[in-house]
Symmetry: C2
Subunit: 334 residues, 2 copies
C-alpha cells in the first residue's frame, strides 16, 4: 500500500513538499487504538529503541552497582546533541567503571548542537567519541560488560556476547525475530534490525504497562522511561523535539527519536505505545507526526493537547527572521 | 496523481526509506523527451533558477561594466558553501561597485561547508552575509541596481523595481505567470514563485538552445551557463553535487540545485532542459535523481554515463567509516 501524506510543508499558502508515513498506537493487550498507513512494514527503529536496548544495563545490576541515577539512565537512552553536559556525563559514567573514552566504539563526530560545535572549535579542541550522539548508550554498554565480567572489546559486533543479550531483549519485548535476514548496521556501528512498525508500538506498550514482561523487566522498563521523563535534557538537548515534548508534560509523555524519520513513544496514563516512520526519513516530518498523534491521544487535556498541536505546526524562519514556511499535519490525524 | 518512488535508501539489503518525485526533460521546441511523475505540479524552484534570475545582470551591461568574468558570473548563479573563496569573491564584486557587505539583504549564516565553519570559528570570527549561500546572487543584484542607477535599498522586496525585472525575466523564459497567487518568500528573502515543473524544464531548454529568446537574451543565457560550467567550484563548492556533476563533463552539463529537492539542468549538446522535484524536499534524493536522469540522457557516452550512474548510487558511511547505507535510483529511470 502507498502510505498517506501525513505532513505538508507550506511556503506562503502553497504546499511545497509533502511527507508520507505510517503511525500506529497500541494498548497493553496489543490492540490497535489508532493507525494510519501500513503498520506491517518492516522499519529499522535505529535509536528509537534505546530504552529497550538499555534494559540489560538495569537488569544486570550494573546501573545500581555504579550508583547511577536518573541522569545516567536517561543518557543511556539518549541521542544527545553533544553539548558539554552530555559529554561530561558520559565521561563520568565511564570513569565509574574505571574506563575512559577510548573504550567507546561509536566513533567521533562534531556535536549536532551548532552552538556546542562552535564553542568546541573556538576552544581549539576536536570532538571525541563522547560527543557522538550515542555516547551515553555506549557508555552504558561497556559499564554493563564491565559489571558482568564480559570483555568489552568489540562490543558493537553482532557476534559479541553483549549484542546477543541486546538482541534477545529486543526480540522478547517487540515479539519480532531479529536475525541476519533483517539486520543492518547503525550509525554508531551496532546492529539494527528492521521489524514491523506494529511490533515497535507493541514493545513500547509493554514497556509502559508491564503487560507481557516479567516483574523484574517491567520494573526496569518503567525505571528507564521514568528516568527519561525526569531528565529530558539528557535524552536529547537544547531545542530538540524529544526534550521539548517530554518537558511539555513531565512524567506523562515518553518519546524517543530514531534516525530516518522514526519515533517510538508511550503515554503512561493511557497505557499506550506508539511507533511511526516517515517514509522518506525526514526528521522534521517525524517530529510533526509524533506531536500530532500525541495531541490526538491527549485531547482530553485541552491545554496540553493545544501545546502539542502547536508543536506539530512549527513555523520556519529565514536568515532574516522572516516567517517563510510551516509544517502542517494532514487530516489523517483528525 | 501520486508520483512514483524515484530513489530508495538501502540499509544492508533492505529498503529503509524511499523518495517520490517528478522529473521532466524537454527539447528546445518544448517537446517532452522523458518524464516520470506529474510535470504539471507547481513547484517553487528556489535557487535552481538563479541562472535565469542573473540574466538582467548580464543584459543590463552591469557584468561587463564592472569587468566581471566567468568566476563572478558563476558566483551570481551559485548556492555556494560559504568557503573562503566564495565569500572573498562576493566581497570583491561588491567592492567593484563601490559597495560593501552591508548592502546585502540576504542575512548571515554559518558556511554550509563544515570545515569552513570550523575554520571560521577557530579564527574567532563570525559569519557575515558574504557567507550566505546566496551572497553571489545578491552581490550581482546590487551591482546591477548600481549600474542601472536604481536605489538598491529594499531590493529583495516584491514591489522593488529590480524584483519586477527579475519577475518579468522569469515569466518570459519559463512562460509561466508569476504573481501574488503563486508567490512565496525564499530563504534569502527574495520572492520565489511556484510554477509547473514542465515550465522550468522548458525555461532551461530555451536557455541552452536560445529557441524562443531574442538574440541578446540567448547570448546572455549561454554566457551565464558557460560561466557556471567553466567555474563549477564557484557555483557550489567542495564535495557538492553541482560542482562534481559539472566537473565530470566540463562544458557538457549544466546543473543547479534548489532547496526542497529541486534541480534544474541542461545538456547543451542535446539541446535539452531538465527539471525535477523530490516530493519530500530531500536534497540527497534530488542529487541521485539528477545524476540518474543525466546518466540516461548521456548513455551514448559510456564512460560519462557510468560516472553519472555511480554518482546516482552514493554509499553512506558511518562515524567509523563503515559502509552502512546507499541510495539507488528506481526503474523509473531505466
Amino acid at each position: 500500500m502507498t502510505n498517506p501524506v501525513l505532513v505538508e510543508v507550506l511556503r506562503g499558502d502553497l504546499v511545497e513538499s509533502a511527507h508520507r508515513g505510517a503511525v500506529i498506537v497500541v494498548d497493553g493487550d496489543g490492540k490497535t487504538v489508532f493507525a494510519a498507513g501500513d503498520a506491517d512494514q518492516p522499519v529499522f527503529p535505529r535509536s528509537a529503541v534505546k530504552a529497550i536496548q538499555a534494559l540489560p544495563f538495569v537488569e544486570s545490576g550494573a546501573a545500581d552497582a555504579y550508583g547511577f541515577g536518573d541522569r545516567e539512565l536517561a543518557l543511556a537512552c539518549a541521542s544527545h546533541s553533544g553539548e558539554p553536559a552530555h559529554a561530561e556525563l558520559a565521561n563520568a559514567m565511564l570513569a565509574r567503571a574505571g574506563l575512559g573514552p577510548d573504550a567507546l566504539e561509536c566513533g567521533a563526530h562534531w556535536p549536532s548542537n551548532h552552538a556546542a560545535t562552535i564553542a568546541l572549535a573556538r576552544s581549539g579542541a576536536s570532538p571525541s567519541a563522547l560527543h557522538n550522539n550515542c555516547s551515553g548508550k555506549h557508555s552504558a554498554f561497556v559499564c554493563t560488560c564491565r559489571h558482568l565480567g564480559i570483555a568489552h572489546l568489540g562490543y558493537v559486533r553482532p557476534e559479541h556476547r553483549f549484542q546477543q543479550m541486546i538482541r534477545e531483549t529486543m526480540e522478547a519485548v517487540t515479539g519480532a525475530p531479529h536475525n541476519e535476514t533483517n539486520r543492518g548496521t547503525d550509525g554508531c556501528s551496532i546492529p539494527t534490525f528492521a521489524v514491523p512498525l506494529q511490533n515497535l508500538a507493541r514493545g513500547f506498550a509493554r514497556m509502559v504497562t508491564g503487560n507481557g514482561l516479567d516483574a523484574e523487566r517491567a520494573k526496569a522498563a518503567r525505571r528507564l522511561m521514568s528516568a527519561c521523563m525526569a531528565e529530558p535534557f539528557q535524552v536529547a538537548g537544547t531545542d530538540r523535539a524529544d526534550t521539548e515534548l517530554m518537558q511539555a508534560a513531565p512524567g506523562r509523555i515518553f518519546v524517543k527519536v530514531g534516525a530516518e524519520g522514526v519515533f517510538c513513544a508511550a503515554v503512561p496514563e493511557l497505557g499506550l505505545g506508539i511507533a511511526l516512520k516517515c517514509d522518506d526519513g525526514a526528521g522534521r516530518a517525524a517530529e510533526a507526526m509524533i506531536a500530532a498523534v500525541l495531541a490526538r491521544l491527549l485531547a482530553g487535556d485541552e491545554a496540553l493537547s493545544s501545546t502539542l498541536a502547536k508543536a506539530a505546526r512549527p513555523v520556519l524562519k529565514n536568515w532574516n527572521g522572516i516567517e517563510v514556511a510551516s509544517l502542517r499535519p494532514t487530516s489523517a490525524f483528525a
